[in-house]
Amino acid sequence: MNRILATVVAIAAGILMLVGYFFGHAADGSLNPLGELQLILLNWAVILAAFALFVGVINLLIVHGNKISQRQKGWGYSFILIITLVVTLAIGFLPPQYQEVGLPFVFKAIQLPVEASLIALLTVTLTYASVRLLGRRRNLFSIIFIIFALLILLGTAPLPLLGYLPGLGEFLRPIIAQVLAAGGARGILMGVALGTLTTGLRILFGADRPYGGK
């Protein structure tokens, strides 16, 4: 019974949102009753998403708490994670004048440098992956991929001592980036949009139900 109810509510809400998107505005651009109903549903979704964040943090605590209690591999990192989470939460409860100092400090001194170092690591990882690409998947597309990546790199950054290579930066690079790559990207995005449309319709029909335990 619960499953049927969840499905009916989800499909009805989905159809209301879809119809509200097309018919939710009056001729003067203001919201009509359908548009207002759509707005209410959207606000409910935002409130539910905020509550889901709370559930997500509980999930994070349980997963890492289990890791610590069972002394699983890497439990020390889980311990640091929980301590950091508690400290950050505690700063959030401090009076506003302390929060204004504490929270930016946590983000600027810890979060940003750590994420920046991960991006730096990614640069090395991707360079290595590009080299391995030809060994792993040696086909025409991989060769084209590497050649065009190199052309874009050479056209973007000057070479030591030689500077910019003539013709690459001002002629070839714009053609590759703004004609070939942009055309290909639009084609891919159209495919993604079609996939998004049919996925949404499947969920509206109730054929896919990532809720209510189907």
Binding site: V55, L60, N66, Y128, I188, V192, G195, T198, L201, R202
Partner: protein, 247 residues
Amino acid sequence: MNLLGLVGFVLVLVCAGLMLGLSVIRRKSPPVFREIPAYTHLRQAIGRVVEDGSRLHVSLGRAALTTPQSASALAGLILLRRLADLTSASDKPPVATTGDATLVILAQDTLQAASRAAGQSFYDPTTARLTGLTPFSFAAGALPVIRDENVSTNILMGNFGLEAGLLTDASEREEAFTLAASDYLPAQAIMYTSGQDPLIGEELFAAGAYVEAGRMHTASLVVQDILRWLIIIVILGGAALKLAGLV
């Protein structure tokens, strides 16, 4: 409603009608789709997971359900459900990681439903995990799952950004099978470079049809193909009219 809105609404209605019609009509021969190597390899990888008792990891990315990117995450959830069913005989249940709190709840529900359908008496809610809320904290949290939990198959399906490179690289280092798909273009380029079996563009949304998740999935793939041809005709027609100076 303006003209564009009306065209959009009619397009949605036509798609809905086509999908319903094609899923109801029993064809003499089922539609044949081109072979996508990633899905062929996925079937083999699923067999390995069941045989050697290793674990399947599905990462659903970071798309919040209230954003347009949620469709890719929903496609990932549908694949998660199908794979959870197919690997229900395995010793270890699949593990799902996400970077969005709403997705964790849906992933938990999906895995619980699969566990119930397989007749298992116990369900571990920590098999669906929120690993981080920013792109790189999400990746950093998912890395130990790939590295330390005897995972032999990693599926990245959803909205990923540049952080996908760290996940695919970790998977390659563990010599695990990697199927990677994202709706974000730079991530697709990264996955093409670093992933074993990347999916490009709409191939992400074809998962259901390729893992035989139902007739509606097959119908939706056929509708996508029909719409693609329509778009091609419209673009070519528009270009021809422009060349002829009629528009």
